[in-house]
Each structure stands twice: as structure tokens, then as C-alpha cells.
Amino acid sequence: MISQFFVLSQRGDNIVFRDYRGEVQKGSAEIFFRKVKFWKEDGEGDAPPVFNVDGVNYFHVKVAGLLFAATTRANVSPSFVLELLQRIARVIKDYLGVLNEDSLRKNFVLVYELLDEVIDFGYVQTTSTEVLKSYVFNEPLVVDASRMPPLGPAAIFRQGTKRMPGTAITKSVVANEPGGRKREEIFVDVIEKISVTFSSSGYILTSEIDGTIQMKSYLTGNPEIRVALNEDLSIGQGGRSIHDYSSSFGAGTVTLDDCNFHESVRLDSFDIDRTLTMIPPDGEFSVMNYRITQEFKPPFRINTLVEEAGLLKAEVIIKVRAEFPSSVSANTILVQMPLPAYTIRASFELEPGTVGNTTDFKEANKRLEWGLKKARMLSSILSELHCRYRNILKEAGPVSMTFTISMYNASKLQVKYLQIVKKTKTDNPYRWVRYITQANSYVARNVPINGSGVSTSKLNFEVPTMLKFLLLEVKSPYFLFLILRTTTGQKALIMGVKLSSSELLGE
């Protein structure tokens, strides 16, 4: 059980504070904030989500820029408390429509009423918005959401397409629309966060999809909902290692490593026809979470080339190739690359005709940032770095990328249909099924500049070995670059005697 619950702003102000058991001293919020803020002396590095100070255990999660925290003196289940904190944040968001400092302060009576029903004497009673509706009487006062920064992956639909109502995501589950009657609608979002690590030679080292099917229902009368997924969906059975992925690529068989479901989901027919049946509770909830490590086609490929271009100069070439249909649009693409600490400045050169790109060299953390409004088939950037020392190339990279692609999902998991089983056919509610793919950890490692692919002894190669080595590398996606290298390398080869061979490898 927990002793206290509180919400702090980023500056450490108490927004909400509720003590359930009176066994932890009242300065706990301040002790907590100081500890989190200065976890390491230099102020860098996040505090772990669970820690103990003077016998008091502190838990916290960050939601929408706020710190949701709890304390206890008992040996409780930490995942229980952390999950609870996330859930409280979600309930409050369901009620208030928007979760931020302002909305919390404006609705403090409601928030305290909610907290009293959610937790009694430190024990969780319920976190279901649906159940809470029958015990909570304050009406939410909805703050103007239009000026709020977007929250959550589905937020991209807000400004976006005409088909979607603008307020959908920030609408309170319980508050009535200004017009009086509530609009009947239901949202099903398939959100996939993908992680890919490309090796320095462009192969995929690891890839993973963390997916979730989220539902937010504004339907009255709690009708039953049926969600049908791909019929050939298979789950687990260790199929992944034996799997011949070339077949899974094209045929569209989706294999989940593992999945779990919300407690309202009935799985009676799931094994037969991959249909989920449920009576959705009010509020936002995850119908299903799934995880895929089966090979998939990454939406972007990244190639990087770093080379010395002079005594105190280096060149970085980053190429990003979009590998999804041009009908799909990717938003807010940002490519980042840490540069060596002794980089003084960087200049950028984009392909001619490129529009809407931003380039920046972040002086403070020595980082190259390249923002793309829209992905094209192939975008590339050349950056010239000016450095203080020579020996530069080892501390650059890896290149990482963040993006959001709407109406596209990497796994090919699909909601085949969304059925509302309604007893009375008054009107047809709006049904929205949306797909969003986001980058989680999307990283390309750099070319092995200091010969990591080659063992040290081979660095003493003679000319023929070098040719062999280069030919060997031709197979990789750095093909273009290496050909280029060989053409200039011709020079290097001729002058091979004069140039130290290691210089060619960047040593």
C-alpha cells in the first residue's frame, strides 16, 4: 500500500498532495524533489524510478512533464505502484480531457474526489474511469486544449487530416459537449514503436516492434465491440528463429512474440478467428499490447560516412532513404548525430532543391541535428566539420532518428473490422481506426573508422590485401562510398607506399 500520493510540477511545486496513512513526514515531497533533481552531482542522469531515503521509499513516473510520485514505508510491489501512478494519470486525463498543471489546479476538488475513490488507506480500489463515474460527482472544467502542446502519439491527428474531429483526443470522457448531446464515436489506434539498430555495414542488427492497440470510446450504453485482426496472426511458439523471413515479408504473416490483453477483453474466439470481443469501459485503455521481433521492412534506411577531409576537417555524409509508399506521409523527422567534443563548427550542404529542411549544430552538446519536414525517396546531407585536433573520427555517432508516420504500420498487423454490436439502431456512431508508427530507438552505427572490422594484425597489409579488403566490403551497402573510395583510393594505392596504409582507414 502507499502512504502518500503527490503530483509535482517540473519546478517542484506541489500541485496535488494527498496523505493516506500519515506515516511519512510531510516534507517528503521536497526531499523527493531534491533527490530527483540532483541525483548526480552534475545534475545529469535520471534518478531511478524507485529509491529509498531514510527509510521512506519514493516512486515516480513522468507523465506530460509532471512528476507523479508516491511514498511508502512498506515492502510493496514496485511495479504495482509505478503502474498505479501511470493509471492515476490516465484517469485524471480521462476526466479532465487534458492533463497539465493548469487543468489539475482548475479541477482540484474533482482531483481530490477522484483520489479518494481510487485509493483508500493506501489500497487501490479502482482505476477504471467507467467504475469511478458512479462514485464521483464533481464535473470537470475543461481547459482550452487548442493551445496545449501535443501529447501522446495519437496527437498528430489533431492538426492533421480533415476526416478527424480536432478535439477528439483532448475531449473529456465524462464532460458534456457544449452542444449538449455527446457525439457517439469510438477510436481505435494501432500504435507501433519501432526500434532498429543498423550495423555499420547497413545490416539490421536488432529490430523490434512494441505495439499497442488503444481504444477510447465515447459510446453511450456500453455496447459490445468486436475487433478483428489478421486471420493468419500467429503468436509465439518460438517460430521466430526457424522462421524463413523472406516468406513472412511478402505473404504478410504476422507473428507476435508475445501479447497481452486488457481485462475486459474476451478471448473466446480469438484462437479461432483472431477476433477480440469486449464491452469497452469508458476512458482510454490498451486493448492489447504486443511485441514483434520478426524481421520487418524498416521505414527508413540510414547510411553514414565520416571521413577526414583535411588536417583539421572532416566530412560527414548522412543519407536517409524512405522505403514506404509515397502516399504515406512521415512527419517531424529528426536525424541526430553526436560529434566529437572538439568540433568547433559545422557547415551543411543539402542536395539542391531540398525544401523545408533545418540543419543545426548544437554547440552545447556537440550534436548535429537535421530536421526534415517530409521524407523523400532519398535525402542526404553533407556536413563539413571543423575541429580543434586531428584525431577526430572516433567519437562521432551513432546516428539516431526520430519520426512519426501516420496511417502506416511496420508490422502489417491490421484491424480488419471494428464492429459495434448495438441493440437499437438509432444512429451510426463514428468509428475511427488509425495507424501510427513511431521511432523508439532508431540507430545506425558508424563506419568502422578505426578498423574494428579488421583485426589489428591485418592493418599491416600490403597493396593486394587492401584491394581484397575493399572488394570484400563492396558487398555492403557502403558500396557507393567504397567505389568512391577506390577511385580516390587509386591515388592512395599508387601513393600507397608514401601514405601510411592506416591513414586510408582513418587511423
Binding site: G22, G27, S77, T126
Partner: protein
Amino acid sequence: MSGHDSKYFSTTKKGEIPELKEELNSQYKDKRKDAVKKVIAAMTVGKDVSSLFTDVVNCMQTENLELKKLVYLYLINYAKSQPDLAILAVNTFVKDSQDPNPLIRALAVRTMGCIRVDKITEYLCDPLQRCLKDDDPYVRKTAAICVAKLYDINAELVEDRGFLESLKDLISDNNPMVVANAVAALAEIQENSNRPIFEITSHTLSKLLTALNECTEWGQVFILDALSRYKAADAREAENIVERVTPRLQHANCAVVLSAVKMILQQMELITSTDVVRNLCKKMAPPLVTLLSAEPEIQYVALRNINLIVQRRPTILAHEIKVFFCKYNDPIYVKMEKLEIMIKLASDRNIDQVLLEFKEYATEVDVDFVRKAVRAIGRCAIKLDRAAERCISVLLELIKIKVNYVVQEAIIVIKDIFRRYPNTYESIIATLCESLDTLDEPEAKASMIWIIGEYAERIDNADELLESFLESFPEEPAQVQLQLLTATVKLFLKKPTEGPQQMIQVVLNNATVETDNPDLRDRAYIYWRLLSTDPESAKDVVLAEKPVISDDSNQLDPSLLDELLANIATLSSVYHKPPEAFVTRVKTTNQRTEDDEYAEGSEAGYSESSAPVADGAASPSSSSGSVPYAGARQPGPAPTQPAPAAPVPDLLGDLIGLDNSAIVPTDQPATPAGPPLPVLLPESTGQGLQISAQLTRRDDQIFYSLLFENNSQVALDGFMIQFNKNTFGVAAAGPLQVPQLQPGTSARTLLPMVIFQNMSQGPPSSLLQVAVKNNQQPVWYFNDKILLHVFFTEEGRMERASFLETWRSLPDSNEVSKDFPGAVISTVEATLDLLTASNMFFIARRKHANQDVFYFSAKLPQGTPFLIELTTVVGNPGVKCAIKTPNPDMAPIFFESIDTLLRA
């Protein structure tokens, strides 16, 4: 004004309370509700609105639930401070507990349980009894928790009124929510009771397992955690339980999954069939991995648990190592945990992949993470002998990057690799030696020196390399000094040539004479004796074959691991500490402070946080016994003492403990009134405390005569004193005995002293640095001057002959002289008496022209003699003093001393 709650915060002008009072008594419902909201708003920002108690309670009788809840909120907050008025609410509570609306019934019981006022508690029992048997499940589940609340206030009452039995009945309730709360309440009561109250029989087990399927996710965790205490009778029962619990692994709530994993792991211990166990392991793997797709906070908890699980059952995740590869955007605390698990799961099969990852991590930005990655490579080398070579080549590549901290970390792990695989990889030593100059961290330096010493015979210039470190020997940290000592001895034994021989002389001299580190000194003496008695056996000892090490750097003690595994899915498994080590939950019945439960303004709350309630109760053992100066403290109840104004450095306590071992006198000399002592800490500096002190000699013993004058406003006690290292090693021989000093009083004391205790190096100095502290003030530091004559002993008396002989035997360079133009010897006799009192003994007197020359002898306790010659014209100012001593460095101090004496 907009229709926001925040408007309730805005009326802060004067006369607010009367205004609110009026509104609370308004005849309009809406106005009253608004007023209560304003009151609550004031309460949450820490304003005192307790004076409105009666008026708010008057609003309690309403059918409007929203208003009623607000009033109850107020009551929980202020009932404790207004116990007499709280009784006003009792009637309404009792009435509400019989209201037709179940929400009101539950609300009444819930609120009464939160009010810790005896009068309310008395009236709680009957409604609670009824509510436990209520028709409505919402009321029953609220009542179940209320029993736990009541038990916390008054355990006896709960037992007397039979509430425990009613609670146990609720386990069979048909509503899963009620069952879950009853289980939670019983589990808490059991935890705080010594009697068996909540025992899980096979009957309750099956009931709870059935309820499990119907419960909310949170209820499932309550039940699973309670059931984890159940010991199955045999393998079959265990299999049965596991079968019922396994479906929970599919739950979206991570807490449910982890609690189910805990339950399954526990029952697995009983299951004998290897097939079943293998199958279960297979089933647990995907859900455990899925936890790593959750928020980073949950991932962290999952990783700490997985760390324990793979130590017991490595097979579960043996094939899943890829999921533990660090993501670029993982928070650092997740990355660190992933590294640990990668090391645990590394095997010959996956080591290439793992090494590639580690190498990548070793070039990241976060220094701690990079270091850990480098160390991880070393640990893999030690763990997997077939991969050791590959690990080493990766380490060498990293060393070539020449990033300073990477190199140092690599050298540390390579030292361990050498210990694990002796005589295998020494060929790389040359490469390591290239980085010698860049090492600046003690551990890396020590490791490198160890390598040089261990392989001295293979390194041609080992002596040169070591010599380069020797120059800075005195400045090195102890860790490096120890390694240098050992490495030099090894070098000498392996290459007993001239160079090493000279080095060993230097090192042994440094390590015995010039150091005050007892470890270093003792080790040096052992080597010295070994080498001087029998170099052959020295070889046997120093160069003996070392046992091969294994990777145990992160293995937990098996019994601890058992305990932690039993505590999977609790905080214990995150901290990797047994619950006793950090759980400080105590019965707080009597210690509860006045709570305003809705403190929003932190400024009101924080000042009370240092109240010793929690701390005193939390660690009762920490303040007793181990503190050496506990006896010097004034007796008195610790919690009532005012908190010290500033934290007291540990230094004082520790060092005094050391001095206590050398207690010389046992009888405390009476405190005499002597000549005024020089003021060393004026009251302006000492916040009203003035300290005067001087070293004196009485009855052939040295004392520190002190006068404490308390001109501050508070009583001072708990005085302690500490002397810094000084030339003569002057230190206290016992604790300082000063009684509590009331404001305006003073105390004199004689502190017995010893010398040669804690001597400082460097040129002799008369400086004596003193620190004095007490319980109320910060530590005071002041300087005193050591007057050499207090050390002169009775043995200083010499015969004329021996005086002359000593004088002649000392070279002229040992003679130092100084003029004291201001000093006067007015009468010869008085001066002789004065000097004799200071153990400077008169030898002879001769006339030289119009001057008188006096000769005296004196001796320091170590035996250093001082031969003194004073030249003056009696009665006239100007004295010339010349001394001859084997230790002319002391002359300046002596002159200071004689100057003081002659002026006195």
C-alpha cells in the same frame, strides 16, 4: 469570473473568515457549497480554517453527495485538532451509516476510520459491524479496509469486537472486490501482529484462486501476494496452483505479471518433473521480455527482478539476450541494468554479438556507462575462457582509441584477466606500457603497477617503469603505495641487481619511516624482515603461485539470493536487499503528528519534517553503543533535544575514539584557579562562547588548561575537543570533562595530555590546532602555540662535566643564537627559579666583561638535550640566548618559549 475551481483561491483579502462564516450559514444550498469549496481551497494551500469547524459541520446534513464529501474532507483534516467539536459530527456519521444510499453509508464509515479521535472511534464500532454485513458490496469493501484502519488505531478493539472473524468471512464473499479488500486488510493486520491471524489453508487457497479470475487487476495483485506465502503440500498441489496462476502472465498490468511470476517461481521449487519445469520456464520468458516494452520505470523494476531470476534459472532467458541490448534512448538506469544482465547471459554462443555491443557502448557519451561497458568486457573474458582472447583484442582496440577513462578501465580489467589466465596473454603487456603516463586514477595505477611487478622478469625495463612511479611515492594514495611496495619487492626478488636494490631501500624507507599508514608500514616491515632473514623464503612467500580467480564480482550469496527470490516483485528485489534492511514501518499510533492531509503549500509542511518522530523510531539502534562520545553527552531523552544547528563532522568522534586507547591518568586533577589564560576563541567568534587555554606542566605531567565562558543565550553541553596533528604529537589523553554550561557561567578544566601520539611531518612548528565542539554550536577551530618548556623533563639536570662534554661533542653548526632586545633579567634568583620550575636546570655562571653568562640544561622526553647559554647585563634590557642541541631545527620553537618565559 469564469466557472473554474481556481476562483476559490482568489479571495484572500482580510476578513475572509467572517465572510466565509456568513456564506456557510447561508440559506441557499449553492452558496453553502461554494463556501465549503472555498474553505477546502484555503485548507489545501495551508491556511488555518479550523475556526470554521462548527459552521462547516453544520453543512454536513445534506443529501448532496458532492457537498457531503467536501465536508468530510474538512473533517478528516481538522477533527484531530478540535476533538471536542468533532463529537458534533458523530450523530450525523451514525445517521449516515444507516442512510438508504449505499454511497453515503460507505462514505460515513470510510471517513470515520480516517479520524483518529477516540470519541469518534468509539462510535465507529457499531456502524462498522453493520456495514461489514451490508447488502451492498461497495459498502462491504469499504468496511473491510476500515477494519485495517481501526486495527491501526486500536488493535485490541478490533479483536474484542470480533471484527477479525467478520473480515475472514468476507474472504468467501461473492463480490471479488470485497474479497480483494478483505485479503489486503488481513495481510496488513497479520504483518503488524505476532499472532497468527491470516493463515492460508488449502481451503482459502482454492477460494482465493477462484476469486482471482474475477478480480480487478489490483485485487489480483493483493491476492497473488497473499497467496505467495502459501507452502504447497506436494509437487502435485504446486502444479495445480501454477496451472491456475499461469493465465495471469497474459495480463496487461505489469504488477500482475510480476506477482504471478513470483508465485510460479516459488511453486516451481517443489515441482520435481523436469518437463513441467522446462515448460514453465518457456511460458515465463515471453511475458518477462514483454515487461521491457513498458515504460522505462517499469523496465527498471523488471530488469532488477530478471537479474535475480536468471541467477537462479539462467535457462529462462538464455536465448533472449538480444532484448537486453541497450537502446539508444534508454535512460541510464535502464542501460546499466541491461549491461548486468547481458554479462549474466553471455555465453560462447552469443559472445561475438555481445562483444560487438559492448564495444559500441564503450564509445558512448555517458562516462559511467562507458566504464561499465569496458568492465563488462573484462568480466566476460573471466567468465568464458574460450572467448577470453576475443575480449582481450576488443580491449586492446579500445585502448588504442586513447580515451583516457577507457584506457584506465581497460587496464583494471586486464589485470583481472591476467589473474584468471596466468601465463597466457602477457604478450600484450608492451601495449599496456605505452599508456603508462596517462594513468591518473588510483585503481588503474595500482593495477598497472601490479602488472609490472608480477611480470617484472618479462618486462625489460621494469625497473625504469617502477622507478618513474617511485618519485611521487609519498603523494600517492594508499592503494598505489601498497602496490608499489609489493611490486618493488617482486622486482628485487626476480632481478636482485643493483638498481632494484637501491629502489627497495628507498621504498622500504619511505614505507616505514615516512608514512603514517599502518597497513603500509606493517606490510613494509614484514617484507623487510623477510628479505633480511631469508631471501629464499621471501621468494616463496612473495612470488607464490596465486589462486586463479573466477567471476564472482556480481554473484549474490546463495542464502541472500533465496531470500530475494522469495521477495520477487517487492522493493526488496529492486534494492537487492532483504526487507529488514530498509523497511522501517512502525506502528505509528502514538506518534502521528497533526495532519492536514491536503497540504498543498509545501512551505508550511517542510519545517516540521525534521521532527524526530520517524527518525527516532526508525533506527533505534543507530545512536547507541557505537558512538564513542556517547558517555560525554548529557543524559536526557534524545528526541526532545533540539536538533543541532549544523551537522557535526564525524572526524571528531572517530579520532577521539583513537585517543581513548592511550588513557594515561585516571584521577582527575582538581581544577585550580591559576593565572589568566590567553584567550584563543573570543566570544565574538564563538557565538558567545569564549575559550582560553594553555598547555601547562604540573607534577611532571602535561595538561591543557582550559577556561570555557558561556556568554550565549543557550545552555551548552556535550563539549568535545580534538587536536590536529602537530610536531610533538600532542593529543588529549582522555575525554574533555566539562559540565553543562548555563548561560553566563564558566568552567575551568585541566585536560591530561599525551605527546608523540599523532605527529605531523615536516619542519618543526609550534602551531597547535584545536577543534572544540558542543551539542549546540558548530565546531570551533582555533590555533594555540606550543611552548617547548612544558615538555622539558626532570631528567634534564646535568653534571657540569657531562654538560661540558656534550657541549664539545656537538659541532658548532649545532649552535644557534638569538637576541631578545626587550627581555630583562632583573634579579638573577627569580630568573633561576623561574627556569628551574620549567625544568631548565642551572649549571654555571661566569662573568664576561660587564656581562653575565648563565648556562642551563634541559631535555625533551625523547632524550634530546638542550644546552642553553644566556648572556645579559643584569638589570638591563637585552638578553642573548644561544643553544646547542643535536636537533637545531627545534631552536626557533625554543626561542619562542624562552621569550615567553623571560617576559612573564
